[in-house]
């Protein structure tokens, strides 16, 4: 028996007769939705970057008029000189855009949508229409957040962590509408992720192609599955908190305002109960895709597939027990601090497993350093630095010194940029052909990689030193403090590196757009990979397969002695392979 779904798709795959609107705007095709997410969130990535550049200008050249800053209104930068209230808006919006509108949608919005059906062998998501709503509520959230930069009293300005009561009362923050728009926007983000997550989970559980057993899933799919569970359970808490914050702001409720009986730490508990799972939402998909790319680049099966899966689950599970490590100095009961410290340190263990398994995969491999591989290896190298710096903060006595200093800023950029963003650069290049049917330029890709890698480290590594000096975060003008004045040269060096880092991204930008038209046409399987997606033409047609593929083996059978070439796709049937029971049941 074949499903209505299947036949419905077959007809589609033949002649795609949908109107332009249905096809590209209100599309329900998971690939189109993925690509929509890609464009929108890359746009927000640029926004986040531009905000960062302004911050870096102020930190490197405090009080000096910013080149081109003249175009900014008086309320932000009179004569191009950034105002304190504008600076904290920059910090807040930079963090918010990067986390909620760039990295999270890039990892989950783009690659969960694009990869899951292609890699598990499904025609589409379980609920394509819900999937479309998920995208559009993300867009609404993004536009609301963007608009808040242009309202009279300016955008939200309490840090991306929005600590109350600063965020809850406009007489404290100096912004009312901006703060409210932040809350509203975050509620939409929450909705978007919840809708997405339930879609991904259902699809992975129920719509796998015959033979695609749980332990034949690529690690990218495993990590996206676990990530979806985290998102499903963490974002409602953020939405709930954001709603209460919004009520404090517009209905004068008293959740977070101690002046009238509310509790300031309540917000922190709610936010971080979401927040730490969130940071794993921001790394697990990256880890998954890096695993796929490293296996491909090493032409070797992933080392310790099962322990990789258990490590993902372990990280996700522990991720629920550690939120207090952001609150060691908050006045939270120190005994709680002790237990949060231990649970936090334990996360080093599954992370160790993953790190060493990636190395084990490269060990005795036949390494092809194509651009995705370069970024994947850089991911491992950089994530480890970020992860290890996490250990310092996890140790409560040390955190007492480095909490809310640039040591934290260094940490979070090593895991988020060195980790997530490098993985994303790799993933974008790796699946670009399957999205657009063309390859991105290899040469320019390498140039972009090396420049980014160098300037990235020049930008963020010195921040560890600043942190060790006690340089606080979120300060508009470090030179206010005598003990920080000697570090101004370093701040300037960081700023210059940051500008060059941003400039290097233009190469990627151009490469990306240029290749859309002029890139060399990609064959069906340009990277000689094993995943099901490579059994399709590039770009993959609407509805993906006419007849679902059957899966005969795990995703990482590189250099298998069974075949001459050094890869063996999951969908390739060898004479020795038997049809999986499910395929017979499905009447294949």
């Amino acid at each position: 028996m074949t499903t209505v779904a299947a036949t419905a798709h077959t007809t589609h795959a033949h002649h795609d007769d949908r109107s332009f609107i249905r096809k590209y705007i209100f599309s329900t095709d998971h690939k189109i939705i993925g690509i929509q997410f890609l464009f929108v969130s890359l746009f927000f990535l640029v926004i986040g970057g531009l905000l960062a550049m302004q911050m870096r200008w102020q930190l490197g050249y405090p009080g000096q008029p910013m080149p081109g800053g003249g175009i900014l209104p008086e309320t932000m930068a009179p004569g191009g000189v950034i105002l304190p209230e504008y600076y904290i808006q920059l910090v807040t919006m930079h963090g918010t855009f990067m986390v909620f509108f760039a990295i999270m949608p890039l990892l989950v919005g783009v690659y969960a949508n694009f990869l899951i059906p292609l890699k598990i062998g499904a025609h589409d998501m379980a609920f394509p229409r819900i999937n479309m709503w998920s995208f559009w509520s993300f867009v609404v959230g993004g536009l609301v957040m963007l608009s808040s930069l242009f309202v009279p009293d300016g955008a939200a300005r309490a840090g991306w962590t929005m600590y109350a009561p600063l965020s809850a009362r406009h007489d404290f923050s100096g912004a009312s509408l901006g703060q409210e728009l932040w809350s509203v926007s975050i509620i939409f983000v929450g909705l978007s992720s919840i809708l997405g997550s339930l879609n991904y989970i259902t699809t992975i559980i129920n719509n796998r192609a015959p033979g695609m057993t749980w332990f034949r899933l690529p690690l990218s799919v495993w990590s996206l599955f676990i990530t979806a569970i985290l998102g499903l359970l963490a974002l409602p808490v953020l939405s709930g908190a954001a709603i209460m914050l919004l009520f404090d702001q517009i209905l004068q409720t008293h959740f977070f305002d101690p002046a009238v009986g509310g509790q300031a730490l309540l917000w922190q508990h709610l936010f971080w109960f979401f927040g730490h799972p969130e940071v794993y939402i921001l790394i697990l998909p990256a880890m998954g895709m890096v695993s796929d790319i490293i296996a491909n680049g090493s032409r070797k099966p992933i080392f310790g597939y099962h322990s990789m899966v258990f490590a993902i689950v372990g990280i996700a599970f522990l991720g629920w027990l550690v939120w207090g490590h952001h609150m060691f100095m908050s006045g939270m009961n120190p005994t709680l601090g002790s237990s949060f410290m231990v649970s936090t340190l334990l996360i080093a263990v599954p992370s160790a497993i993953k790190t060493f398994n990636w190395m084990g995969t490269m060990w005795r491999g036949n390494l092809r350093f194509h651009v995705p591989m370069l970024h994947a290896v850089a991911f491992v190298a950089m994530f480890v630095i970020g992860g290890l710096s996490g250990i310092y903060m996890a140790a409560t006595p040390v955190d007492m010194f480095i909490h809310d200093t640039y040591f934290i800023v260094a940490h979070l950029h090593y895991v988020l940029f060195g980790g997530s963003l490098f993985a994303l650069f790799g993933a974008i290049v790796f699946w670009y052909p399957k999205m657009f049917g063309r390859m991105m330029s290899e040469g320019w890709g390498k140039v972009h990689f090396w420049l980014t890698f160098i300037f990235y480290n020049c930008t963020f590594f010195p921040m560890h030193i600043l942190g060790m000096a006690g340089h606080m975060r979120r300060i508009y003008d470090p030179t206010q403090y005598n003990f920080l004045q000697p570090y101004q040269p370093m701040n300037r060096f960081i700023s210059i590196s940051a500008f060059l880092l941003f400039a290097s991204q233009l190469i990627f930008f151009v490469n990306f757009w240029w290749s859309l038209r002029k890139g060399k046409p990609a064959g069906q399987n340009p990277w000689e990979d094993n995943g099901l997606e490579w059994s399709l033409p590039s770009p993959a047609p609407h509805g993906n397969w006419e007849k679902l593929p059957t899966v005969y083996r795990g995703p990482y059978e590189f250099s298998s002695p069974q075949v001459a070439e050094d890869y063996l796709p999951q969908y390739k049937r060898l004479p020795t392979d038997r049809e999986p029971a499910s395929a017979l049941l499905a009447g294949h």
Binding site: L83, I88, V91, A158, Y163, P165, L166, F172, G174, P258, A259, A264, S298, R299, K300, G304, S307, M329, S330, G331, N333, P334, T335, S338, L345, L346, A348, V349, A352, I353, F356, N357, M359, M362, R364, N366, L367, R368, V377, A381, L388, A395, P397, V398, M400, F401, D404, T405, M468, G470, I475, Y476, D477, Q480, Y481, N482, F483, P486, M490, S559
Partner: protein, 223 residues
């Protein structure tokens, strides 16, 4: 410009820095292991014509080793850190003879109340000074932190001490200064547009100087 931690100005600064160094060593080993390993593999196993990768799905022994070692190290590190933590910030860590000072944080200043001659807070001779923290050397000091409006954070780098001041809560933090001198106190929690300039001077006096200052400051305050 120092490339290392600031001067150690309190009794537990040494402990904090010691732990920092310990972690630096542990993570340093892990760091070298990983990065050198990566570079080595990159060079040694780079693609060569005719070379085929070694076909393996893993090795349980190796897995066990690199699971167990970090696990043990982390548990040990946790226990050691907790020992210091309890000593520095634990519920009953404040020394009984500690000298009390009340610090009230508000946008964007530190209102610092001294116990006056009788060494007791909440008595008639208390007096308040803005943005100046004077403490005696070699004597435990306990600060009673409170906040007027939003969350601020009491941070003296040389003492390695940090503690948020939260509206609606009174939180105690203690330290014992060891080196007389003039330092800075900063606000470490974003508290609004003036966050960056919410700083105060810290003066660590010998007991004699401190008493002298106290007399004079009390007088000025009373006028």
């Amino acid at each position: 410009m120092r490339w290392w931690l600031p001067l150690q100005g309190s009794t537990f600064a040494g402990e904090v820095d010691g732990l920092f160094v310990a972690i630096l060593i542990i993570t340093g080993i892990a760091f070298v292991l990983v990065e050198v390993g990566l570079i080595w593999f990159i060079v040694k196993y780079r693609q060569r014509p005719g070379q085929k990768a070694y076909y393996t799905h893993g090795n349980t022994r190796a897995e066990v080793i690199w699971t167990a070692i970090p696990a043990v190290t982390m548990v040990a590190l946790g226990l050691i850190s907790n020992h210091y933590w309890v000593h520095i910030k634990g519920r009953h860590s404040v020394p009984p003879n500690a000298y009390p000072i009340a610090i009230h944080a508000k946008q964007f200043e530190w209102q610092i109340t001294y116990p006056g001659a009788d060494g007791q807070l909440g008595t008639g001779d208390d007096f308040t000074v803005r943005n100046q923290l004077h403490v005696p050397v070699g004597r435990p000091v306990v600060v009673h932190l409170s906040a007027e409006d939003v969350i601020h954070s009491f941070f003296v780098p040389v003492f390695r001490v940090k503690q948020d001041a939260v509206p609606g809560m009174e939180i105690n933090a203690w330290f014992e200064a060891t080196v007389p001198g003039n330092y800075e106190l900063g606000c470490a929690e974003l508290c609004g547009l003036g966050h960056y300039r919410m700083r105060a001077q810290v003066f660590v006096h010998t007991q004699a100087d401190y008493d002298a200052w106290m007399k004079q400051a009390a007088q000025e305050a009373s006028q």
